[in-house]
């Protein structure tokens, strides 16, 4: 009886916490001098109001989902790379460079070359922290974070010099990619492009990985190293493999951000997409369907908040605050569910005889 009471008070406290998080967003909108109800409608209007807005939201979700699907195997294995931001930038650089290098060779090669170069670039940028973690046990969270700043500087320098536009511009950027290097549009009249297909492929691959024996071994690796070793999962392979995959995925997203949109490499190409991707992987429970849904939610927040800023003057950075609150709320729910499951196991283990009777 006491346990029942305890469980109820716990869910009460959880709902209270979630309520406080939601109230914070409402309060922030009020502080900005807008009507929360109107702002909420403005946000949804901006994100899913018409055909173009919906397409734009999906376009936004594509790189986020790809990064998240790629980083999920690492997170499942208890490895925590946060370098997608830099890997995405480097992928965008290598893809752009490859397309310009192959200019005039063969038009049909421009798309696959950009795609492969982007993935290789992202993986190469992930290789350093992966090797450092596997060989020297350097904390991968911090090494990947620091590498992000190196990538941002490298990108800025390249866009200013080697990859810079032919004409002199106030803000550095690359020349426009040749038309044959642009990813074709999926729906005419919108920016939705075939790169969205990569999300489905990635989700399928992750679904397969989660169900495979090897994937199970990597899941075990997160919590029980010795058991995982007996299942044939070696630490070095797990670290290198998952981190390289996450790098390649981020690089792919980098190529998509250049070749799928304007065909121009800007210094701001990553723009927080890498961080949001890691966040989405966590929010989506490290499962394919969850990740795709979470990426759409985050894209709605981003596109919606841009619309919100133009409509009501509520700063678009409300999206970042909301992301943090959503992550905190989801983590609270997840932790509560895990505690409940653990209690159930303990109950079962403590009184097996009673259960049988």
């Amino acid at each position: 009886m006491r346990k029942l009471y305890h469980a109820r008070s716990e869910s009460l406290r959880l709902s209270l916490a979630l309520l406080v998080l939601a109230a914070t967003v409402v309060l922030l909108i009020v502080v900005a001098g807008a009507d929360p109800w109107q702002a909420m409608r403005g946000l949804l209007d901006g994100a899913v109001g018409d055909r173009y807005a919906i397409a734009e939201t999906i376009v936004q979700s594509v790189p986020i989902a790809i990064v998240a699907l790629g980083v999920a195997p690492a997170l499942r294995a208890g490895i925590f790379p946060v370098g997608s931001e830099g890997q995405l930038a480097i992928g965008a650089v290598t893809a752009t460079a490859a397309v310009f290098a192959l200019k005039g060779v063969s038009a049909g090669l421009a798309v696959p070359a950009g795609c492969i170069a982007g993935m290789l670039g992202g993986a190469a940028w992930a290789f350093v922290p992966a090797l450092l973690r596997a060989r020297l046990n350097v904390n991968e969270i911090l090494s990947t974070l620091l590498m992000n700043y190196l990538a941002a500087n490298l990108l800025l320098w390249l866009v200013r010099t080697v990859l810079g536009a032919a004409e002199a511009l106030a803000t550095p950027r690359s020349d426009r990619l040749p038309i044959e290097a642009i990813i074709p549009k999926l729906v005419d009249g919108t920016r939705l492009h075939w790169g969205a297909l990569a999300v489905l492929l990635g989700a399928g691959a992750l679904a397969y990985w989660v169900r495979s024996t090897r994937g199970l071994g990597y899941d075990v690796f997160a919590t029980h190293r010795d058991l995982a070793a007996r299942m044939g999962v070696r630490e070095g392979t797990a670290v290198m493999g998952t981190m390289l995959v996450s790098g390649a995925a981020a690089g792919l997203a980098g190529w998509i951000q250049v070749a799928g949109l304007q065909g121009i490499l800007y210094p701001s190409v990553a723009g927080g997409l890498g961080f949001t991707g890691v966040l989405v992987a966590l929010l989506g429970g490290l499962r394919p369907l969850g990740i795709v849904v979470a990426s759409l939610v985050m894209a709605i927040l981003t596109t919606g908040s841009n619309g919100l800023q133009t409509d009501t003057g509520v700063p678009a950075s409300i999206a970042v605050v909301a992301q943090g609150l959503v992550l905190l709320g989801a983590a609270l729910v997840f932790a509560a569910r895990q505690r409940k499951a653990r209690r159930a196991i303990i109950d079962f283990g403590a009184k097996p005889a009673e259960k049988i009777r």
Binding site: N139, L150, N153, W157, P315, S317, V321, G324, L328, A335
Partner: protein, 308 residues
């Protein structure tokens, strides 16, 4: 500016100490937090919010209020992190990322409400420099060591005080015991959750103060991404400094030394691109992280939830 001149080194050193101050404060907080067994990845957000709130407070009243409010803002984020991790059972790393998003987001949000883009930036008066008579005229180190912001002296004193407190006082011993073996500490009557909560709040206050130091102490204004990863650098230098306050301070000086060099290089024409010098502090921090990766002395219960 020529590297052979004495003046060059004096300016480099003075800049290094100035730039190291915010990181030292934040890293000191993170050292304490990690010594009690928690990894706080929210430092970047705490610094960002402290940096903004500091400028706001300074423009409303004085730099003193700015510093206090900056510390309070960081402390509140630390409290939130503590509630999520210690009461809500949230994974420390996930909670830290959420806190960073919150801190950075709130700072940008309120900044845009306060100063919509297009309007000229509000510049606030800085914390005045405190010259120590006589000493500031010593060659080479005089200007660098004895003509600094009081915040730099405070950071140094705080590092020494924390070192002493960790080694010699009962709260310090309790804090370390909670980080090394929380179960045993609990059995001996130490309230593990309370100690960790209090330390997270203290760590938050120091990170927020560190953020306010960047803006109210040295820049005089706030811009988006004014912390530019210094919160993460603070976490890195805790590892580089092997979880000792003095070590973290030297780690912060390493980053700041190259940061100072980058600033000097930007103002003088050197053959290498600006981006090379801006990368140097981060690259050197990474290198130091690699070199100190072996033989680590992390608190034994670091990152593990209590009771698991």
């Amino acid at each position: 500016m020529n590297a052979a001149e004495l003046g060059f080194w004096a300016i480099l050193l003075a800049g290094a100490i100035r730039l190291a101050t915010p990181i030292t404060l934040a890293a000191l907080g993170e050292t304490l937090v990690e010594r009690c067994g928690i990894v706080n990845l929210g430092v970047e957000g705490m610094m960002a919010l402290g940096a903004f709130v500091g400028v706001w407070g300074a423009s409303e009243q004085s730099w003193g209020l700015g510093l206090i409010l900056g510390g309070v803002a960081g402390g509140l984020l630390g409290l939130l992190m503590g509630l999520a991790v210690l009461k809500g059972g949230v994974n420390q790393i996930v909670a830290g990322i959420a806190i960073t998003l919150l801190g950075v987001g709130l700072a940008d949000y309120f900044f845009q409400i306060w100063q919509p883009s297009g309007r000229s930036a509000v510049v606030v008066p800085l914390v005045p420099i405190l010259r120590l008579p006589m000493l500031d005229r010593l060659p080479l180190v005089g200007e660098a060591l004895f003509a600094q912001s009081p915040l730099s002296y405070f950071a140094f004193a705080a590092v020494i005080a924390a070192t002493w407190a960790l080694r010699r006082t009962t709260p310090g011993l309790r804090l370390r015991s909670v980080g090394d073996d929380p179960e045993a500490a609990q059995l001996r009557g130490v309230d593990v959750v309370w100690v960790r909560m209090a330390t997270l709040v203290l760590g938050g206050v120091l990170a927020g103060l560190g953020g306010a130091t960047i803006t109210v102490g040295y820049l005089g204004s706030f811009t988006d991404d004014v912390t530019s990863g210094r919160g993460y650098v603070a976490i890195a230098v805790v590892i580089i400094g092997r979880w000792s306050p003095v070590g973290a301070m030297f780690g912060a000086l390493l980053f700041a030394g190259f940061d100072s060099l980058a600033l000097l290089a930007q103002s003088s024409s050197v053959g290498l691109p600006v981006e090379f010098f801006s990368s140097l502090p981060y690259a050197m921090t990474l290198l130091a992280l690699v070199l100190t990766a072996r033989a680590q002395h992390a608190p034994r219960a670091l990152g593990r939830a209590f009771g698991e």
